[in-house]
Structures are given as structure tokens and as C-alpha cells.
Symmetry: D2
């Protein structure tokens, strides 16, 4: 008896919950937990249902659900299975370390298949955990070549998500298009404040009393993808830009870890430029 | 076309959601929002469903729901209607003021019918807001007489809840029994730390770095009723007990306000010594 | 035996603390609490010293301190005395109410001398507390006339600070210049995110998971004055712009209240576009 | 030109700051940052002064400071130097990992000299970081023997602090007496709530809406030593005891990390059962 996750996103209409739960009951699936949300502006319905039971034929169940939903509905049936991720890094260790430690002790909810760095800095650390580390320099080559090398490495794995764990290069729309809603970035500011480079320097110069971090899906527009999770901490006049960066690392790793947990448990829907997160 | 709230608490079993939503659909009720929770330890199911539609006969709907639920189910149908509350106070103003200001500007979600104080201190303030203030001294009389005077005053109103807004007398089990799950208290500590008198003094003497406040239902056991909401704030070595009390007031009023919002929107279930809060 | 506050801001140099404390000791002033900060970028020194003792001649003490400090030092001697403030409001009640309630119970640390509104909405509330309310419409007149009417009213009082407690008009540089570092605004976003109009609408459209509020001094550049205090709270996909605004009110009033406490206790230095806050 | 830290704790009296700063100035020490606090209840004065300058003879400076302070003053002169710590662990990895990762990247502010575990569970992890791991079983022997083995291992190092990073054995007063104010523990609750065993189980059973973690010095009385740092997070009815423990790990490691930072920067004074922390 396994668990099955049913994720549905469709146009809102009367009787959706009844229809969906009836189909699940007919398949002898018991609802363990159910969350739903209606976006009244966009007239969109979202639900995440944890079921227990045995489903002989996933295609049949999916088709039957689609038959009982408005047209253009999205239905995903997700069996319990370990997910796979790859990490892209530059020089900073804190997010990488947090993820590899969880992976090492099997509390991440996914397996890290490889780490790709545009510097060699973090190779030793990754290799302590027996995770393959690939160095892809961005120097002396065009962005397309740089990204092709990365794509080529990633293509060796069946990956669910690619995590930019303080990866300090801007990816091209072409690269991003290959992994729609699969790339997660941690940005070192409370977006949309301090978009772009050196957010801690910007924060210091503005004299803010709070700094933040934001985990978001990567889309074509830099730092403008759907936000998954955010956190903030208090700072004061005694913090210079470097001290803000040090303090910020703690929430960067916490917020990325939180976002990954939510994504790896399939709690996150993307809807336009926003997310619905069933915590 | 009005909204109707359906609250159900019963033994967990297979097909509950299907059964419930089918009955609602048969009554032409459209589900706007639905939350459910299964307490797997106690095998209890809880759901809160916001519907829109016209129900001709509430009794029929309630009976039909009961027919489709396990025995001993609790079903409440709550139409949109203003609730009424009474406040019990002593001398401290901050919680009273917060509630009366919201009432004055119609953002409380209830009407304050009266304020009863065991001191005259807050009469002027209540009367600024044209809310009847009754002074019931606890002096020179037994607790039973004191409480009978209060009960007698409260009985003049149709009350949904009684809020102890920094009321500094301990109520007897007899009094509490008359208002089961209807009395809400704000306790000036992060329960269960610092149960009883002078929690800020206790906190100061223990040298804690965080203080808290707790809103809870009042039961026979002092400070041990089901917790609805809690908040904490950081303090440090520069705070003496009085300064902790001053800082604490801000979270006392915030946490009581939050708990009231949740209760007045019927988001809170009591289950044994705990609450389920569908935020 | 009264308390005296000594605030000094000057170029940093060796021996400052020794020189200052020696002068205070020579005047038989005992240091109760002392805070100092050196801005190493700007090479500026800031100190706030609480003393107890009797000072016969403030001018003498001030001159002696200046004699022992670098040129162009700022020295302020502030005896214990109640401060006076005026409030500018539009239609929203929550910040106004929070301040008037504290004033009513003498926990504000200042006296509210008057409330000026560009709508009549809050007259009744202010008058409950016997605080004069003046209605100054912004309609059918130029901004200069509008502001002159306000200035004329304010000039009837000896004011330490002017608080924009959700005042929804933009003040001109001429107006602001009259009250340098004396005007405090509460902005309903986590600055510098969502500068300008409708920040909650902007926040909703961006899909943020945290909203904030910022108390700051008002300077010529809209929403860009020195930040005094900020707070944030979590929101999620179930919040529309209006619900964000409702949730935001709680932190708006909390953060304005915190900023006022710090200002009224003379804990805030302005240094360029930033503040030093000795909490 | 090195930095020197001057920590003084003594009976409060008039002119202390003047006397101290004069002595420092006479030794050509420039004050970079200074914090002071007076405990008015205990009439105790505490100061932490960061100086720059060259001190030829520490003993002379210390003696001169003592000559200018009340009797029984405590004066510590702390030159910049790396500190050494040892970790005691049982089976849980999160605090150990957080500390070893920081140590690995030289951001801990100390060197971890060894890890001692009463289980073998964490050996592999410690050894990844080339930190010696010693297994000392608590089974089949008395507590005195168990602790003597630990003491014997610790005596091989010059240690500043011993960190109980989720060490699940209770240490005897004899052991603790050897390391007065040198043993730091992370307790998995918001002390003084849920003292003793299974705090998350206790928290679950009480139905709290917030859980916490506490870093404190270890004294004879279990969980009653001076508190250094605390943090809390929100939980709700969907958390069982195990999920609370999972969520709690994040703040356990954060709060222990914060406490260690403050201790290793010599920002913490112990005064009776409390701490003064100059953040």
C-alpha cells in the first residue's frame, strides 16, 4: 500500500471537489490530506491530495480525472520516489554544505547527483561527500559554450531540479528554457528590493534595518521569477556590508532549505509569476 | 446569496470528504474554501468548509450530513452573522483598548456588548466608546458572590465569547463550566513556561532571552486550557522585570487580537487539550 | 537630582571617550548608561550618555565639552522634559489610534498637541481623546496653500516632532525644509521595495511571501529618508492585496510605535541618509 | 599593531568609565568599541572594550586597572588568538555538522580539537573533516568511569570551551566543576518550558503553537544554567512530536551557532544565573 500524490490545476467551476473526490473514492484511494486554493482573480483552482491505496493503472486514473474536470486541466500523479537534483555553485560554501549534509544523512528528500562549479573552490568539500564535482570555467569562452558544457554534464542524469546554490553567473534564456520551472535560485536579498548585483552593498548604503533572502524559480527576467520562500533578519548601524553578508548567509541557507523541502514534497504550484505553496 | 460555514468534527473513516461534498453539492452549495485535518493519534477528522448558496432548511442539511457521517459526529452550520462578546478587565488598558478601537472602526468581527472591571480604572476609557462598563468589586465578598454578580450581568446579553483582557482574578470551575470553550484568556507568558503569578518577574529572575504571550481557552486548570495562539519577542540583559512587562504588552495585545480573529472567523476547533486552527 | 542626556556627534579621534567622561566627572555627573559607535567609513563618532547629577549651567558644560572635542562637533544636552508632537492623518485609523491610546494612558513619552487631517474621517476619534482635530482639505487649492494652512496650525504649538500617521499626501521640499529631521513617516512597505503608491498592490502582483513596514525621517526624496525601524510578516498565496493591507496595518502601527519610542527617548542619530539607533 | 580586548566586571561606583579609559589612554590604547552595562539590582558594572595599540606588559596594565577599580574586580585582557573547543555528541548530526562545516571553512572563530561520542554514529562524519573522533561508551560502566574517560581525552588539549552538541547524557557535578563556565549546552526547548527529557513530546502533548531552543552554560542543576541565546519558531496542529523535532533542529543549530559566535568573540559575561551579552 503506497502513497500517491494527486496535483490538479484547472479553471475553477462548481462541484470540482465533489467530482475529484468521487473519482478517487471509486479507485479505492483514501484521502489522507487535502489542500485546495481558488485564485479568484484568475479563476484558477489548485489542489494537492495525499492518498493511500493501490492504483493499478495511472493512465486510467489520470484520464478519468481529466474527464471530470474543465478542459485544459493539469493533472499530475506522483508516486513516492526519490528525486534527483544537481547543484550549481561558485565559491560560497554555506548553501552547498547545508544541502550536502542533509543529503549525507538522508534528510534532504532528494539525492544530489552532481555539483558543477565555475571555480574549483568547492571541489574538496563536495568530494568529501562522494558527490561528483565538475569544474566548468566561464573564462575564455562565450556564454553559449559555457552553458553547453553545463547542459552536457546535466544530461548525464535524470534530474528533477537544478539548484543554483550561490551560483554567481547569469544564465541565458536559452539555458533556462530547457528546464522550465525546474531551476531554483537563492537570491541574497528580500526581493524585489535590491535586484541585481551586490545586494548587501546596496542594503548597507540604503541604511536598512532588515535584510532578507529569497528562493525563487528562475525565469528569463533576472530575479523576477516566481518567489517560493523568503525570510528576513534584523540588522543595525553596526553592520557594514560584509557583516550583513555574513548574517545574510544564515537566512540564505535556511530559506533555500525551506524552499527545497516544499518543492521536493510537491507542495509548490507555479501560476504565472507567483507560487501557491501548500505548507 | 449568502455564505454558510460548515464545521464538522468526527471519527475518521474512508470516504468522508466525498460524502460531505456530495451532500453539499446536492444542496446546490458551492465550496469556496475547504480545510481538513486528520488527527492520526486520536483518529479524529476535522473540516471547515466555506460555501456559497441558499439553504432553505438548515435542519435538513444538518441531518443529511449526520446521516452520512460516523456516529457522534459534530456538525455546525454557521450563517454569516455578527458575533457578540463581553470583556473582563482589571487595570491594564492595552488589550481592552486594542479591542475597543477595532470594534469602533468595525474591524473586530464582533460587537463588544459590555466591559466588566473589578476596578474602576478603565471605566472612562470604555465609556469613550459608548460601551457599557460595569464595576464588580471582588473585595469584601466571597468568590461565589463576586462571580454571581458577573454572571448576572453577562446574562443580559446573548454572548458568543467572554474575553479576559488582562483580568487578574482566577475564575472558579463553576463559573467556567457555564461557558464551556467560550472563555478566552491572554496569559502574559509563553506557556507552559512561567505558569501562575508574576511571569515577567519569573522571566527576569531566570534570565531568559525571549518572552512570550499565550491566548488560550480557559478550563478548570489554571493556564492549562487549549492554546490558540502564541508569540514571542527577544529581550536582553538590559530589561528588568518592569521593562519586560512593557515589551510584553505589545505581544499580549497582538496575540489576543490574532486569537480573536481566528475564533470570530470560526477557524478554531477544540480537541481535548489542544486546538486545531485553520489559518 | 535629575537625569541629563548628553548626545555627541563628531569626527572620530583618539581619546574622545576619556575626554568626554573626564569633563562629565568634573561636573559631578555620574554615568548611568553609555553607548558609543564609530562609523569607520565616515570617520564619525557618536555617543549617547545618560547621566545623573545637577548641572548648574548647561552652557558652561556644553562649551567645555566642545573645547575637548574636534571642531564642528555637535553636542546636545537634553534634560528630562515631556516632548510635544503633532499628527497628520488621512482616513486610516490604526496608527492614530495606537498613538492616542498611549498618549491617553501616559505611556507615549510625549503629548499629542493636535491632529490635522485632510479628511474629516478621524475627527470623532481624536475628539474622544480631547485632542484638537483640524480639518485641512487638499481640494480646490494649490499644494502651497494646503501646506501653508498646515504650517500655520503647527506654528501654534512648540513641537518636537511631526508624525505622518498614514498621511496620504506628498509634502513639498519647502514644507519639509522647515522641519529638518523632525518629520517621521510610516511607509507601508519594506523599503526600498515598493516605493511609491499602492505598495500592497505591488506586493500582491509580485507574489512576495513577506510584507513589511518602514518608519523613516522625511526628506526631499519620497520614501528615501533615513530609516529608523522596519518590521516584516509572512503572507502567502491566500492573501489578496486587501488582505495584505489588513495584515500590514498591524506591523505599520507596531513599527511606528517602536520608532517613536526610540526617537522620543533620544536614541536616534541621523547621519547622512542613515540612522544610528542606540536601542 | 594588534587588537586587545579588555573585559571588566566589578562593583559599580562613580567614575569607573573615566578611570578605566584614562588608564587605557595612558597606555596609548585607542578605544575602537566600548559597551558597558550596570546591573542596578546587584550593583555590578560590566564593560567590554576593544582597543588597538601595543601593550608591552599585560601584567602592568592589568595591575594598573585593578588599582583604579573597586576591590574584587575581575579584569581580563584577551589578545587576538584562536580558541580551541571540543564537542560531545551522541547520534544527532545537525549541530555537529553545522560546527564542523564552519570550522572547515574557517568561519567558526575557533578550532575543533576533537569530537567525543557516546555512540559511533557520527565518527564517519567527523573524520571526513579530519577531526579526531573518540568513542566513549556509557554502557557497562559507572558514570564516574565514563566521565573519567572523557576527562582524560579532553586533558590532551588546551581547551577554551566544551560544547555539548546534542550530547544526551547528564553530566555529574564533579565533571562540571572542572570546567566552570566553559561547558555550553543546546537544549531542545524554550527553557524553562519543558525541562528534562523529551521536550518535543511534551510540547506536542501540551499543544503549543511555538517551539524553541536554548543555548546555556551548564551548571549543576540540569537545564538551569545561565541562558546565552534562545530562538523560537511557529508550529501548528499538523505537527506531531517527530515533526516538531525536525523543525526544532533548524533552530537548535542556529541558536547554538549564535551562542558560540558570541562566546568566541568574548561578548558574554556570566553573572550569577544570568548572562550579559554585548551583541
Amino acid at each position: 500500500m503506497n502513497n500517491l500524490l494527486v496535483l490538479i490545476q484547472c479553471k475553477d467551476s462548481v462541484g470540482l471537489v465533489t467530482n475529484i473526490t468521487r473519482v478517487l473514492a471509486q479507485h479505492q484511494l483514501n484521502i489522507i490530506a487535502m489542500r485546495e486554493f481558488v485564485d479568484e482573480v484568475k479563476q484558477q483552482f489548485f489542489t494537492r491530495i495525499e492518498c493511500s491505496g493501490i492504483v493499478e493503472n495511472h493512465n486510467n486514473l489520470q484520464q478519468e480525472l481529466l474527464n471530470n474536470l474543465p478542459t485544459e486541466a493539469g493533472v499530475r500523479l506522483i508516486p513516492e520516489a526519490e528525486k534527483s537534483i544537481a547543484l550549481l555553485v561558485t565559491k560560497e560554501f554555506h548553501c552547498l554544505a547545508d544541502i550536502l549534509v542533509r543529503d549525507n544523512f538522508k534528510t534532504l528528500g532528494a539525492k544530489v547527483k552532481c555539483v558543477i562549479g565555475n571555480h574549483e573552490t568547492l571541489r574538496d568539500f563536495a568530494e568529501k561527500f562522494e558527490v561528483p564535482f565538475f569544474y566548468v570555467s566561464h573564462e575564455d569562452k562565450g556564454k553559449a559554450d559555457f552553458e553547453n558544457e553545463i547542459t552536457s554534464l546535466l544530461s548525464n542524469y535524470q534530474l528533477d531540479y537544478i539548484v543554483l546554490a550561490k551560483f554567481m553567473r547569469i544564465l541565458s534564456p536559452d539555458f533556462i528554457a530547457q528546464y522550465s520551472n525546474q531551476i531554483i535560485n537563492i537570491h541574497h536579498s528580500f526581493l524585489p528590493a535590491f535586484i541585481g548585483a551586490n545586494p548587501y552593498k546596496q542594503a548597507f548604503e540604503r541604511g536598512v534595518k532588515i535584510i532578507g533572502a529569497t528562493a525563487h524559480f528562475v525565469t528569463n527576467n533576472l530575479d523576477e521569477g516566481p518567489i517560493i520562500s523568503q525570510q528576513t533578519i534584523h540588522v543595525n548601524h553596526t553592520f557594514d556590508a560584509k557583516q550583513m553578508a555574513v548574517a545574510g548567509r544564515e537566512i540564505e541557507k535556511a530559506v533555500l532549505s525551506k524552499a527545497l523541502e516544499q518543492i521536493l514534497e510537491d507542495r509548490v504550484f507555479v501560476s504565472g509569476n507567483k507560487t501557491i505553496v501548500f505548507e
